[in-house]
Amino acid sequence: MDLLNAFVALSNFVLVPAIAYGSQLALGALGVTLIYGILRFSNFAHGDTMAFGTMVTILFTWLFQSWGLSLGPLPTALLALPFGILGCVALVLLTDRAVYRFYREQRAKPVILVIVSIGVMFIMNGLVRFIIGPGDQRFADGERFIISARDFKEMTGLREGLAIKTTQGLTVVTAVIVVALLFWFLNRTRTGKSMRAYSDNEDLALLSGINPDRVVMVTWLIVAALATVAGVLYGLDKSFKPFTYFQLLLPVFASAIVGGLGNPLGAIAGGFIIAFSEVMITYAWKKVLGYTLPESLEPEGLVQLLSTDYKFAVSFVILLIVLLFRPTGLFRGKAV
């Protein structure tokens, strides 16, 4: 019985949150990795692209709420999500047309594009703060829990409760659907295949008649959709604050690099690696160890390896270890 309680406590505090967070990171990292693979630069504005898409979604959510529209137990934000994606797509296509295209035609060095993306980051960040303000916004509604801790205890008679928030369930389901769609698109459709060809070898792809403008446009479409979905899921799960989204840049990039930049499968694996290590290293293990170890060995302290404020340090250290021992990432990404 003790092992069972330990497992439930572990799931409640580590597994479920880490899976949800990992899915969000994976979606973010997929966007970064696609831009890296096809447009060939590290997009520093990605965190703020996520913030912009989420902001549009929040505005539509508020509009729908004021109309009295809702999805019952599911958050209204799901209904607003397509509009958020549209808004984000409009913004990134506009940015590409006004900013990035010029440097692409010049064949500027990747690092110049990175600096350009810093300028874009400033503008998007300013835009989001200008429209919705720098404060915290909560926009989750509907049913809060799939299973609440108390229901779970009553159902099973265990001492430990397992709570699964609706947003966590939603995150995982959405992430699975989105990733499945993305891989189907990349592997089965003509456009997807042309994107992969362009990513693998630009010159050969051009020779075989692939239209580069189309590939770039489709990439931005997908990236905007991924960024918005990731941002909205993160915001539903925690809360929306422009600065937090800017800070997400570090774990998102860490995920993409750990998995191997330019490799979509790697981005997903990286997202989960980063999320699980962050949660596990900053979790206080006292409860779980208390159930599994014999009483005489029961720990006195919290058995927390690092305080939660050091979660950035975790993604960073993993990143460094991978860079030092396997510079192209776990899944052999590409190097520009």
Binding site: V114, I118, F122, L250, I257, D309, A313
Partner: protein, 434 residues
Amino acid sequence: MSETMRNTALFAGVAALIVGTGLFQSWNAALLILNMGLISAIMALGVNLQWGFAGLFNVGVMGFVALGGLATVLVAMPPTTEAWAAGGGRVLGGLLCGAAVIGTAILAHRFMAPSRLRGLVMLVILVGGFFAYRAVFDPGVEAVEAVNPAGTGYLGGLGLPVLLAWPVGGVLAAGAAWIIGKAALGLRSDYLAIATLGIAEIILAVLKNEDWLSRGVKNVNGIPRPVPYEIDLQNDPGFVEKVQGLGLDPVTASSLYIKLGYAALFTVVLVLILVAAQLALKSPWGRMMRAIRDNEVAAQAMGKDVTRRHLQIFILGSAVCGIAGAMMTTLDGQLIPTSYQPLRFTFLIWVMVIVGGSGNNFGAVLGGFLIWFLWVQVEPMGHWLMQTITAPMADGSALKEHLLDSAAHMRLLTMGLILLLVLRFSPRGLIPEK
């Protein structure tokens, strides 16, 4: 000599902007802009050293600046003797223990043949060492933080003159740069960028959470100054007499006097660093750096140790940022870890370097002054703009209030716009590299 004329005109233009602030707003505001402009110019010189000379992409400027700030506290604040007695030795012992663990692990990695055994040994050393370190360190920290937590609760500094903190800030930043450079230089540029972004966040996390070191988010106030206090000047009959002879109010005059004092100190540092950077740029060493930047493979073929040279200039540039950080905290008189924002302390410095002209020291200095001036003045301009736009709207309408409230965020938009416009239409900056 048209180029010299042009550059002089640019500098004169920025000077006119600052003097204009003095004439139309207040001299106090003008001197504030001047002082932070001097500090920004030094930070821009540091980044220019890394990016302009060597093409290293460092987006962790904020971390090095914050380390400089930490140096001010460690050097200038009086030591908390009770805290040292309570747990100071234990804290130091813990840190030494941690360093020893990492050292042993590195030794094991270096001297054991690559095998599964080596990995296992390193794992045991690191995991065991971590718990040993926590066992020594944690009780010490607890004891230190328990000493008068509302007033001190930290070990304090060395009680030395605050000017000494400036070079120390540089040394601290250089140390951090050495660690990060050892690990991430020689990899691709994007990786260095992400690694520096990460180290800056970690330095900030340490400053916010290690209360025994610098009181964390409780801030350290009242850091000693290199210049006299306003109140002492106002109570000094000699000063008051002299000022009233000039027809000035003693309160305003004392504040201006202090700011001018800071400005003089900062100017000395800026000139020293600028001269050093200029000499370095024109020396064989500077030519070698640019050769490496422009063609790494060719430079390597000529027998230059690219990674070592990169490490060298990365450390130098970060040290300059650390010095500037220490100067800034001295000017503020307090260390507030939550005030360090990457947009303000990393990316804004980048805007300064790019707008001023990367690779040109004078460009970096000009960019530092100009962008800082804009950063300060865009906010009132935004307010004015918004007031003009919203003037015809009805008072109390939600949109009007929202627009007026949001005017403060105009500065991010403006900075992004300036950066993009300069990159597009004048990618070499206002004063291009020769």
